[in-house]
C-alpha cells in the first residue's frame, strides 16, 4: 500500500511542481511570443505530418505482421518496436549516418535530387516518425489480430474483392484501434527531443520544436519554458482522456 502510494506520488509530484510554477496570468502572453509561437506552429505541423506518415506506413506493416507467416517475422516485429525502447539520441545518430548528407541513403538523395534532410523541417518529421511509428504498429497489429476473420470471409463469399474487404470491412472494424494508434503516435511525435536535435539540429522556425524550445528557454526565460511544457502536458492528458475507453477502464 505504502509502495503504491509512493509510486503514485513519484509520478504526480513533478506534475504538481510544474503546475505550481506556471505564471497563469501571463500564460497567453508567454505562448504568443514570437519564438514560442514559432515553436508551437512548427511542432503542430511536424507532429501531424509524422502521425500521417506513421499511419500511411504503419497500417500496412501492422497488417503484414498480423496476417502473414514468413520467416523472420519475430525479428521484423522486434526491430519495428525497437525505437520504443531505444534512446532517441541513438536513433538520431542512426538517422544521421543513414540520411545525413554523407549517409548511405542521404548521399544518394543529395546526388540525385539535391534533397538535404538534416537541418530541415522534413528531417524533423523523419525523426518524429521514427520514434512514433512503433506505437501505431503495435496498437494496430493487436487490433488486426483480434479481428473476427469470419466477417472478412463472409464478405469475400458474398463476392467482395480483397481490396473491397479491406476498405469496407477490415479497416472500419479496426478503425478505433487505428485512431488510437494515430493518437499515440502523434503524442509521441509531439514530445520528440533527442532524435530531433541530433538529426535535425535546433534552428528557429525550421527545426526548433516545442521540446527543444523548452530546453532552450529553461536557461534564458524559464517562464516561457514552463508555459510551453504546460501545453505538452495538456496534450498528453487530452490524448489519454480520449483513449480512456481503451486503456484506463480496463
Amino acid at each position: 500500500m505504502v509502495a503504491a502510494g509512493l509510486a503514485f506520488a513519484f509520478i504526480a509530484l513533478p506534475l504538481i511542481g510544474l503546475l505550481s510554477e506556471v505564471a497563469w496570468s501571463r500564460l497567453w502572453h508567454d505562448l504568443t511570443t514570437t519564438e514560442a509561437a514559432a515553436a508551437l506552429r512548427l511542432s503542430l505541423v511536424c507532429s501531424l505530418a509524422a502521425a500521417a506518415l506513421a499511419f500511411a506506413l504503419g497500417v500496412p506493416l501492422a497488417w503484414v505482421l498480423a496476417r502473414f507467416e514468413f520467416p523472420g517475422r519475430a525479428a521484423v516485429r522486434a526491430l519495428t518496436l525497437l525505437p520504443m525502447v531505444l534512446p532517441p539520441v541513438v536513433g538520431g545518430v542512426g538517422l544521421l549516418y543513414a540520411f545525413g548528407r554523407t549517409g548511405f541513403v542521404g548521399a544518394r538523395l543529395d546526388e540525385w535530387f539535391g534533397i538535404h534532410l538534416t537541418f530541415s523541417t522534413a528531417g524533423v518529421i523523419l525523426a518524429e516518425t521514427f520514434v512514433a511509428l512503433p506505437f501505431l504498429v503495435i496498437t494496430v497489429e493487436a487490433a488486426f489480430r483480434g479481428l473476427d476473420r469470419d466477417l472478412e470471409d463472409a464478405a469475400a463469399t458474398l463476392g467482395a474483392s480483397r481490396r473491397t474487404v479491406m476498405r469496407r470491412v477490415t479497416l472500419p472494424v479496426a478503425g478505433p484501434a487505428i485512431a488510437a494508434g494515430v493518437a499515440l503516435a502523434w503524442a509521441r511525435a509531439l514530445g520528440e527531443f533527442g532524435a530531433t536535435i541530433t538529426f535535425a539540429g535546433n534552428i528557429q522556425g525550421r527545426t526548433r520544436t516545442v521540446p527543444l524550445a523548452v530546453y532552450l528557454f529553461l536557461q534564458s526565460d524559464p517562464e516561457v519554458a514552463i508555459a510551453l511544457s504546460l501545453v505538452l502536458v495538456a496534450v498528453s492528458v487530452g490524448v489519454l482522456t480520449a483513449l480512456r475507453g481503451r486503456w484506463l477502464v480496463r
Partner: protein
C-alpha cells in the same frame, strides 16, 4: 515456502554486504586528510564543455599525485552548470568558460572565496574538411546553408555573438542551428551536416582533420577568460582548494597549454 525463506536469507546477505560496503566507504572518507601520499576524498568538478578533454588529463595527474582522492567531472555548458549549482546540485569546484556564469554564483553567495582566472581561449571558424564553400571570413558565414553556434545563453554563444557584432555581420537566424554547448556545436560540423561553426580554438585543434580552420582576424576576435572557484557548499574544502591550486600550478598550466589554452596572465 522454502523458496520464500531462501529469498529472505539472500536478502539479508545482500543487505549485510551493502552495509559492509557502506561502512568501508565511510571509513575511507574518515581517513581523508594529509599523509605522505596526498589528500583523500571525492570531488565533483563542474567543468565547462570546452575544458572537458583538458580537465580529463588534469584529473589523471591530480589523482596520480593524490591516489586516495577520486575526482569526477560533470561536463556541460557553464550556464547549465551554474544553474545546477544554484539549485543545490552536488559540486565542489566550478571551472567556467566565462566570467558571467561565475558572477551569477558569486552574487548568489555560492562560492567559497573569490574565483580566479586560470586560462584564456579564442574563437575560430571551422568548416567541413577542405572548406568546400570557400569561407574566408566571418562575413562569408552568411553564404552557408547552416551555421552552428552555441545557444546565446552559453558562454560560447555569447563569444560568437560578440565576434559577429565586432565584424558587423548578421546571420539569418533561420540558418543557425543552436547547440547546447561547445562540444555539441563542433559536433554539428564533425558529425552533422552543418557547413560551418564558430567554436573555441582549442576545440577546433582537437578536432584535427575533421574540420578546416578559418582564423578570425584579431580585430574581430574575442578573448575568453576561464575562471575557477571552490563551491561554497562543498564538504571537501581542502581537496577542492588543492584541485584549484593544481590547475593553476605549472603542472596544471602545462596540460592546459598542451590543449591550446593561453595562460591567464
Amino acid at each position: 515456502m522454502t523458496r520464500r525463506r531462501a529469498a529472505g536469507v539472500a536478502a539479508v546477505f545482500i543487505l549485510a554486504a551493502l552495509g559492509a560496503a557502506c561502512s568501508s566507504a565511510s571509513t575511507s572518507t574518515a581517513q581523508s586528510g594529509t599523509d605522505s601520499r596526498g589528500l583523500g576524498g571525492s570531488l565533483t568538478v563542474s567543468t565547462a564543455s570546452s575544458l572537458g578533454p583538458a580537465f580529463q588529463e588534469v584529473l589523471v595527474q591530480f589523482t596520480d599525485d593524490n591516489p586516495q582522492a577520486s575526482v569526477e567531472l560533470n561536463v556541460a555548458s557553464s550556464t547549465a552548470l551554474a544553474l545546477q549549482i544554484e539549485q543545490g546540485a552536488q559540486a565542489d569546484v566550478f571551472a567556467s568558460a566565462d566570467t558571467a556564469a561565475m558572477d551569477v554564483l558569486a552574487r548568489g553567495g555560492h562560492l567559497h572565496g573569490a574565483s580566479e582566472p586560470f586560462a584564456r581561449n579564442r574563437m575560430t571558424i571551422v568548416t567541413k574538411p577542405g572548406n568546400p564553400l570557400r569561407i574566408r571570413s566571418v562575413e562569408d558565414l552568411q553564404r552557408a546553408d547552416v551555421v552552428a553556434e552555441c545557444v546565446e545563453t552559453a558562454p560560447c554563444g555569447r563569444y560568437a555573438a560578440r565576434v559577429l557584432t565586432r565584424a558587423d555581420v548578421t546571420i539569418d537566424e533561420g540558418t543557425v542551428t543552436r547547440e547546447l554547448d561547445a562540444a555539441a556545436t563542433l559536433g554539428a560540423v564533425t558529425n552533422g551536416d552543418a557547413d560551418a561553426a564558430i567554436v573555441y580554438v582549442t576545440d577546433a585543434r582537437a578536432a584535427n582533420a575533421k574540420v578546416t580552420r578559418v582564423p578570425i582576424s584579431a580585430e574581430n576576435n574575442v578573448e575568453a577568460v576561464y575562471p575557477i572557484a571552490v563551491v561554497a557548499g562543498t564538504s571537501e574544502r581542502r581537496l577542492a582548494t588543492a584541485f584549484v591550486t593544481f590547475v593553476q600550478s605549472p603542472a596544471g598550466q602545462a596540460i592546459l597549454a598542451r590543449f591550446g589554452f593561453l595562460p591567464a596572465q
